[in-house]
Symmetry: C2
């Protein structure tokens, strides 16, 4: 409390540095006079901070534009944020595919790479495929591994704060895997592991169907649906990182499994086999009446689950994602159901990032981490109270 | 961005004032030297701010303690926050009863008053009963109406930000009622209206079963269960104020209503009649097998709903509240169910505030409002980014 006022020179320097860097990045490129005006700092302070930032490799002076003739004197020096001062990876560990994207410090994507992997592949094989994809990606994009500042990873399952996968029914050998630590061996920067639906929600909010909303529920629809939520623009992870793990909702009422709902015979589909789902969907599209009825049952369940989630969370927007094809057909029944039970039904949209949502969100989480280090100053001025004691 | 640095004298004064007031309140009573030390402010600044606060009636100098003999000079002057500088009301509008509590600026409760009201009473009669209860309470507590700084109100239904009840099936004439505006006529201070389950969650977090947890789901169990959630200590209202309105969950699956579940005949109980519920509960306690089976069905539904909410939100603690008697019997089945489906099942507790939870939470919301005015300074230093663009 009162730290800012009590005066703490190093903190003040950090604040000034963050403010100047923020201004330069927002302005694309700017003169010292412009930075002084925007930040409210004194000219000598700005000069000192910019010099430090140049020394740290985060800011560079742009070559003067010789085509502009000024009335008098030299042209003013212009500075810009060096987005190429570091790079970020966003990684998606999926059941059938592992993939990664690389971007600079402005979040501009420079390349992407994916590798198929067998659904039943053991953990080591999946990790190896991932390492191969990342190595190829970095080589092709011309990004040295040492220039990476942070790596974000999206994975199915409940993820601990330290990057351990606490529970994951979708990937063999994944429960208990210390994923963050394992991947850290390949990088010298922080590795941030996040649940895939959470990462997808962040991705859609950054560049996809949810750019205009801060209160979003994203549902990765499938045999074991999972949800990620943003509340006021912030990820809601839950107390134990398990928020949105609604895959076992049907078990509460001891109802039939999604695999049984989707089966066209007396035998349920193989557990968690999304390819089997796609096969039934294809047959339904081809007009097979049994498959159509199965898809119908499956959709009713999904509509029910998403509606229940909406009543619990009251978001502004619901985004339907996931790798199952044909999910677009879910939108109208979902809208109808929501209109029936919600006073102010949320908007409903299909993911626009599709299969890229998880990696994109993981990339954003890596960028958040770096921005927090570069631009943010922790702590408000007074101990502001919420609804607490 | 950078406002604090650019310098804005009035803001700096506000910050200093908030910091000093905060320190005095936390310290109970303190000398200027102590305030200087705790806040990091200069002695002249502290002297100036304390003088201003005395002028505003928020701080008072304590009479010197003559029993303490100091070696040299006069005893140091001691100052304290004037908790009696203003008062707060917490109001609970229930189906069978309206009630209110009054407290000082430290949140110390000075009195409470309630009035029974018929379940079917029209809105005007309910409001009149409430006004009577408040008038009696203020008179008995010796608090002049003009000394009230804020009034918090908990009510069933979905509440708009402006205090209008958007939808309420529990109270006749309540849907569409501009409750905030109507009550504002009786007070010259802000009136803050909140959903009753939300208020109860805040109340239990402040003084009840949830004091040790910032991630709480409170369920007002009953025929139309409602939930209030705190996430990271903050109330989660939802985008449209409808979060936790799970009363229509059973309609999604087109299942039977709670009134039918609880009936011991072919005819469902009267809609939303909590007294009828209590009657069935009493008969079950007396050993009536039909009533026991009905209560069992009803509990199974509640356990199902609460478990689904837990999977969606992943709280640290679930608190079961509501005016229905005998809810304690719900706890063990709920714990069993949660243990079955949650990786890290939340703790489960019964409300300790009971019928006082809503009014207590409404009081806390009024206190929050006043504290925000007195102690908080808006705005962080840099435009800190969440997971957004």
């Amino acid at each position: 409390m009162g730290r800012l006022i009590g005066g703490e020179p190093s903190l003040l320097r950090r604040i000034n540095s963050a403010v100047v860097l923020h201004a330069l990045r927002a302005a694309d490129r700017a003169t010292l006079t412009e930075v002084t005006r925007v930040t409210g700092l004194s000219r000598p302070t700005v000069e000192g901070v910019v010099e430090d930032l140049i020394g740290a490799g985060l800011v560079v002076e742009e070559a003067a534009d010789v085509t502009v003739v000024r009335r008098q004197g030299r042209p003013a020096r212009r500075f810009r944020f060096r987005a190429e001062a570091g790079y970020l990876l966003g990684v998606d560990v999926g059941a059938h595919r592992v993939s990664a994207v690389v971007a600079d410090l402005d979040g501009r994507v420079l390349g992407a790479q994916g590798k198929d992997v067998a659904e039943g592949a053991p953990a080591e094989e999946r990790l190896e495929r991932l390492r191969t994809a990342v190595a190829e990606l970095l080589r092709r994009a011309g990004v040295p591994r040492s220039a990476l500042r942070a790596v974000g990873v999206g994975t199915p399952g409940i993820v601990e704060a330290d990057g351990t996968v606490r529970l994951c029914s979708a990937l063999p050998g994944w429960t208990g895997l210390r994923l963050g630590e394992r991947l850290s061996r390949s990088f010298r920067c922080p590795v941030l592991v996040e649940n895939d639906a959470n990462a997808a929600a962040v991705g859609e909010h950054w560049k996809g169907a949810a750019v205009d909303s801060d209160d979003v529920v994203l549902v990765l629809a499938g045999l074991s649906p999972g949800a990620g939520s943003l509340i006021g623009g912030r990820l809601h992870r839950g107390y134990g990182g398990a928020a949105g793990e609604i895959g076992s909702w049907h078990l509460l009422g001891r109802e039939v499994t999604p695999e049984a709902l989707l089966s066209t015979t007396d035998v349920p589909l193989p557990p968690l086999d999304d390819r089997a789902v796609t096969a039934v969907f294809s047959r339904a599209v081809d007009g097979d009446p049994g498959a159509r009825a199965a898809v119908d049952r499956f959709f009713r369940r999904l509509v029910h689950d998403v509606s229940a989630l909406v009543l619990a969370l009251d978001p502004e927007l619901v985004v339907i994602g996931g790798s199952t094809e044909g999910l677009g057909a879910l939108l109208d029944p979902l809208r109808d159901e929501l209109a029936r039970y919600c006073l102010r039904p949320p908007k409903v949209a299909l993911s626009t990032l599709g299969e890229a949502a998880v990696a994109t969100g993981a990339l954003r989480l890596a960028l958040d981490h770096v921005e927090e280090q570069l631009f943010a100053v922790e702590g408000t001025v007074t101990g502001r109270r919420g609804s607490g004691r």
